[in-house]
């Protein structure tokens, strides 16, 4: 997983609430057995018309937002399915940070596994940042995970909260599985204790 430290980039405003994972990547594009290549289908129905032509009014079809690495949206971003194809599609397009008032739990979790930083900021702050983003290519935002601040084009710094464990993993680009396997002895111990405490729990030997 790529580290996330500091990002200075164009931000795309997407002033919608309840952007669900079907909207981020419709189910018909989940038939892949790879993680890559989904960026072209990101926001498919918002981005393309029925004939597959780009909708010129959609933000990611306009300059400078074609190169956006930050996305700003409204409440409950990423609600719906657990599909990790949603953060994969964002990442494949180039988005490394999503800013919104709040996120659906599974999507929020999935972002961290892919080096994407989800930032929770109040609605009025998100609206102000969308105003900045609307100014175009010269109005870049900086997201500094080390210092936990978003820096507006006017230099104003806005702090954000993040779980320390997740922050550390993102800053270092750490693999969760590797971190957990460092506790393998605890897992062995738990399994032995569980076998005594709940011996009735059947193994699924075959189905």
């Amino acid at each position: 997983m790529d580290k996330f430290t500091t990002l200075t980039a164009v931000a795309a405003p997407l002033p919608l609430a309840n952007v669900d994972t079907d909207k981020i990547i419709p189910a018909r594009f989940l038939k892949t057995i790879k993680r890559s290549g989904l960026g072209v289908h990101l926001f498919d129905t918002l981005r393309y018309d029925a004939d597959g032509a780009e909708r010129p009014d959609f933000v990611l079809n306009r300059e400078p937002y074609r190169g956006a690495q930050i996305l700003i949206a409204h409440e409950n971003f990423g609600c719906g399915s657990s599909r990790e194809h949603a953060p994969w599609a964002l990442l494949d397009f180039g988005i490394r940070c999503v800013i919104a008032p709040d996120f659906a739990d599974i999507f929020y979790n999935n972002c961290f596994k892919n080096g994407i930083l989800p930032v929770r900021l109040p609605r009025d702050v998100c609206d102000a940042l969308m105003g900045d983003a609307a100014l175009g290519g010269n109005a870049r935002l900086t997201v500094d995970l080390q210092r936990q601040v978003v820096v507006r084009p006017n230099g104003e710094e806005i702090g954000f909260e993040i779980d320390p464990f997740r922050r550390h993993s993102l800053l270092e680009g750490l693999d969760d599985i590797g971190q957990t396997l460092a506790h393998a002895a605890s897992i062995d111990g738990y399994e032995a204790a569980r076998a005594k405490a709940r011996p009735w729990l059947p193994a699924i030997d075959a189905v």
């Binding site: 609430a17 018909r28 038939k31 609600c79 657990s82 999935n110 892919n114 971190q179 506790h183």
Partner: protein
């Protein structure tokens, strides 16, 4: 961890699965059951391969293909090449990693959230995960069950654990009794209408109260299934005699003396008196009517006797814009009566409502009637075993004679990953769980409702109040 403070059902299941608490409060949580399907697992197995890792506990893992599988012509290979590759990839992976697998042509194949409980794989007091948000379903048995992404699927395959922080506790209590003609689906739609699609974010919801206790296991599974539509991490219902009776004798449940020992432990799970909930919501079951959604979010729901709301009455411009967008997509007008909305397609199926009890409820409405002219109606049983049971009861004949398509088990038109999709502009009365734009096919329009209400829509050709269908006996 043992503590004297009163604990909730969630607290108890959580505490009994903490392997280790890390200094910052993150927990390594042990996972008892891991359900795997073809869509969210290929990249996880690939990750294991690249790191040279094995599946730690194949004996706690079960795989089945459900999202992509066609619901007809099971004797032929899957036509759609990408779907065929995804199922073939699952089959290669379960073989290579030694994971128990239910083949597509096995009678026990079905939607992962239907077969887990049905086979007794999902048990009270266990932790259950799957790369699918509707894993919340299994909480109906008193399990802590939640959906995870593919990276976490890989994490569980490799370690049999997850890194998690505890959720907050939320109590949703439904007092009294559901009126005739209303079901568990109406109950959960009413709950989502009340608290909203982000109402449960960060919480595990425990459903309680007389109306919840009175539900059979199928109804409880329906309620917990849609916890994710309320934004909750999971939904749970305390195990009781209904739960134990449901599980007794199921093939993967404990048997004989082991079952008695299990029940003794399961009886300790219900929340203690005085346990703390971060939030409590109370509904009166008597006020719940048959519900139907009008918009493209499950919270956009009204009683069938109601009308399409007026965006101009919403409190702020953002909400007005959102509602206008929904009405535009759904091709509905403010003030339009829900019962005047004609449908093109009726879909009875999905992990929400495809169990034998759901099919019986729909068949009760359909019996002796015909699907309205111009309506395509289909029943997709949740599993091969549900299909078999329905055929033994003659339900397939009732549906077929009425003009329904009677299909093989799978996720089907809930999300249109297989050939069962809406065409652009088609309007569907659906027993599934999501009415998002394009969910059932690009440009398709979805109205969520109960199986009985879906059956009523099929025979009348429009959204209808099942309570007014003549001759229907309301139990």
């Amino acid at each position: 961890m043992t503590t004297d403070a009163p604990r909730t059902l969630f607290d108890k299941v959580w505490d009994s699965h903490v392997v280790e608490r890390l200094p910052d409060g993150t927990c390594i949580l042990y996972i008892d059951r891991h359900l795997v399907h073809e869509v969210t697992s290929p990249q996880a197995f690939e990750g294991l391969r690249m790191a040279g890792r094995r599946v730690r506990r194949p004996d706690a893992t079960v795989a089945v293909a459900d999202h992509n599988v066609p619901t007809e012509a099971r004797d032929r290979p899957i036509e759609e090449p990408e779907s065929r590759l995804q199922v073939a990839t699952l089959e290669e992976n379960v073989h290579a990693f030694g994971v128990p697998y239910i083949p597509v042509r096995d009678v026990r194949q079905g939607i992962v959230h239907v077969i887990g409980p049905e086979l007794g794989i999902s048990l009270p007091g266990t932790t259950i995960v799957c790369g699918d948000s509707h894993t919340s379903t299994h909480g109906a048995l008193g399990a802590l069950a939640f959906g995870i992404g593919t990276s976490e699927v890989e994490h569980v395959l490799a370690t049999q654990t997850l890194l998690q922080k505890p959720a907050k506790n939320m109590l949703v209590r439904v007092d009294g009794r559901l009126p005739a003609g209303t079901t568990a689906k109406d109950m959960v739609l009413a709950i989502i209408g009340r608290i909203g699609t982000a109402g449960g974010t960060g919480h595990v919801i425990e459903y309680a109260g007389e109306a919840v206790r009175a539900l059979d296991m199928a109804g409880r599974l329906t309620v917990c299934n849609m916890s994710i539509e309320a934004g909750a991490r999971a939904g749970m219902i305390a195990p009781d005699e209904t739960t134990f009776a449901y599980l007794r004798g199921r093939p993967h449940a404990p048997q004989g003396q082991a079952f008695q020992e299990a029940v003794a432990w399961w009886r300790t799970l219900p929340s203690d008196p005085g346990a703390h909930y971060d939030r409590t919501v109370v509904l009166d079951a008597a006020e719940i009517a048959p519900m139907v959604t009008w918009g493209t979010s499950p919270e956009a729901v009204v009683p069938i006797t109601g009308s399409v709301p007026d965006p101009e009455a919403a409190p702020d411009e953002a909400q007005r814009a959102q509602m206008r967008r929904m009405l535009d997509y759904m091709d509905l007008r403010p003030g339009q009566r829900m019962q005047d909305v004609a449908v093109d397609v009726v879909f009875i199926g999905s992990c929400t409502n495809s169990r034998i009890e759901d099919l019986r409820a729909a068949a009760d409405v359909v019996r002796g009637r015909r699907v309205a002219d111009g309506v395509r109606a289909m029943v997709v049983p949740g599993s091969g075993l549900v299909k078999q049971a329905a055929e033994q009861e003659g339900l397939d004949r009732i549906f077929r004679e009425a003009g329904f398509e009677w299909r093989e088990a799978g996720c089907s038109m809930c999300l249109g990953m297989n050939p069962d999709k809406l065409k652009p502009g088609q309007r569907c009365a659906s027993t599934s769980n999501r009415n998002f734009e394009g969910r059932q096919g690009p440009g398709g329009r979805t109205h969520l409702l109960s199986p009985a209400m879906a059956a009523a829509a099929a025979v009348t050709g429009r959204l209808s109040d099942v309570r007014e269908i003549a001759g229907r006996e309301m139990a």
